[in-house]
Amino acid sequence: MKQEISALMDGELFDDDVGMVMDHLKRDHATRMNWATYHLIGDVLRQPDHIHSDLSAKVHERMRDEPALLVSRGHAVKQKMRTFALSAVASLSAVGVVAWMSLQISPEIAPQLAMQQAAMRPASMQIQPKSDNYLMAHQEFSPSTDVNGGASYIRTVSYGIDDSPPKNNQTEKQAK
């Protein structure tokens, strides 16, 4: 059903199927949630500056309204475990959705997605030794050279490049 929803959003669904998906959307709450989530993901990818979904206030409000539960400790722990397990599943499936979306969405959005992912994994890729010249040229004029002295040049000398796992390189390319 998730694939159909995405196809519907992209206007790539046949008329017969549109009716079917619409029907599903009307009846099934989970499908409606997927619909909303996909639109949110799309909006974030297209206009990251305009999304302000500060949930903390809402969460705070809900917490205040939550009745104090007077239950035995063992029960509460079990409950917690279950919530954790559920949220873990939720985040896993969210990752799945994003990865899957990256295959589905149009090519001009894909680089943006790759950039977003790069932002999420800052230390994903080591600077290549052939870029050392840029680091050296930058280091000359960086104020860190004044304060840290020659020690700051340590960044420009790549000793340990052989140790860096090459597989990061591949994932980066796949993401694109």
């Binding site: 994903s124 840029y134 020659g150 040049y153 960044r155 340990g160």
Partner: protein, 323 residues
């Protein structure tokens, strides 16, 4: 400069004279450290850690009649040596000295320009965190916390007597350590062993003139290329724009440098040579992030000691504004 202990007091007097207005707490230490980094004689071993890597290096720094000699040597992994003298950099490569770079105006003091200082005050909050021991010396700990999330937090351990930086950490989100380096062993002042180790003897080199390549010896011409970046974080002032040679490049490369007083962002612009190896996108080493992108037949490279999203934000805003 063998009399290290009175240096600090003298230095405070000097810096008080230089700036009519009193430097705020914390920022004065920065100036002291910058001065001491040039003036102090020291030798020692320090560790540099970033990500899951740790590297150990040795360093010797000598200031003889305002001429600086410095040698940096890797102690683990393949042997690498870096020699700095009067703002020029050489590297030992297979027993041959290769000049890498020369720094313009190396003796610029004070190193904190007034506009950089005001950028510092406007964008960072300095906090004194007490005195800790590093490599057996007492150090004043100072935290520079940025007021936005476009730059890193810097934590410095500065020797209370000489003002030398003994340890430095760069912290990112949730105070996660991005990189840090610290002396584990250090000799100061007259105790520096001038004949200390390595293939290139500093004492031997002392007083001799190192060969300079013709292109490195002359200052790079400043230029006004017409390239601009619109989305620099507040307080990053343009320090210079030069046309410079770069090893491995056919033609000169335009370099524009911006700084907020603690970190810098460089933008390099050169004609795109369609080199497949220039990986597009983001890469990093410690606190330094690098971003390559091709724009209108030009290869744009952004380098800075700022978080990845800042480098990307700057890269996205680079455009040609000339005729």
């Amino acid at each position: 400069m063998r009399l290290c202990v009175p240096l600090c007091g003298l230095l405070l007097a000097v810096s008080a004279n230089l700036h009519a207005e009193e430097l705020p707490v914390g920022f004065d230490w920065l100036e002291v450290a910058a001065f001491a980094g040039h003036q102090t004689d020291y030798s020692g071993v320090f560790v540099y850690q970033f990500g899951n890597q740790v590297e150990t290096s040795s360093i010797v720094h000598i200031n003889d009649a305002d001429r600086e000699y410095e040698k940096l040597e890797s102690l683990d992994g393949p042997k690498r040596e870096l020699i700095r003298h009067d703002g020029q950099v050489w590297s030992y490569d297979h027993d041959k000295l290769v000049q890498l770079d020369s720094r313009q105006g190396s003796n610029q003091f004070p190193s904190l320009l007034p506009e950089q200082l005001s950028a510092l005050k406007a964008n960072y909050q300095a906090k004194l965190l007490g005195v800790e021991r590093v490599a057996g010396y007492n150090a004043q700990v100072i935290l520079f916390q940025p007021k936005d999330n476009l730059r890193y937090t810097h934590k410095l351990w500065i020797h209370t007597d000489t003002g030398l930086l003994l340890k430095a950490a760069v912290l990112g989100e949730r105070n996660r350590i991005v990189e840090q380096y610290a002396f584990t062993q250090l000799q100061l002042g007259g105790k520096v062993d001038r004949s200390w180790g390595g293939t290139c003897d500093l004492a031997d080199m002392h007083g001799k003139t190192l060969a300079t390549t013709p292109e490195a010896a002359k200052n790079y011409p400043s230029t006004n290329s017409g390239w601009v970046a619109d989305a620099l974080p507040a307080g990053f002032n343009k320090i210079m724009e030069i046309l410079r040679p770069m090893p491995g490049k056919h033609g000169p490369v335009t370099q524009i440098v911006y700084s907020d007083g603690l970190s810098a962002i460089s933008i390099f612009i050169e004609p795109d040579d369609h080199d497949e190896d220039d990986v597009d996108g983001l890469s990093s080493r410690g606190a330094v992030n690098l971003y390559h992108k091709v724009l209108d037949q030009y290869l744009i490279t952004i380098v800075g000691e700022v978080p990845p999203h800042t480098v990307m934000q700057v890269a996205d805003s680079v455009r040609y504004n000339g005729k």
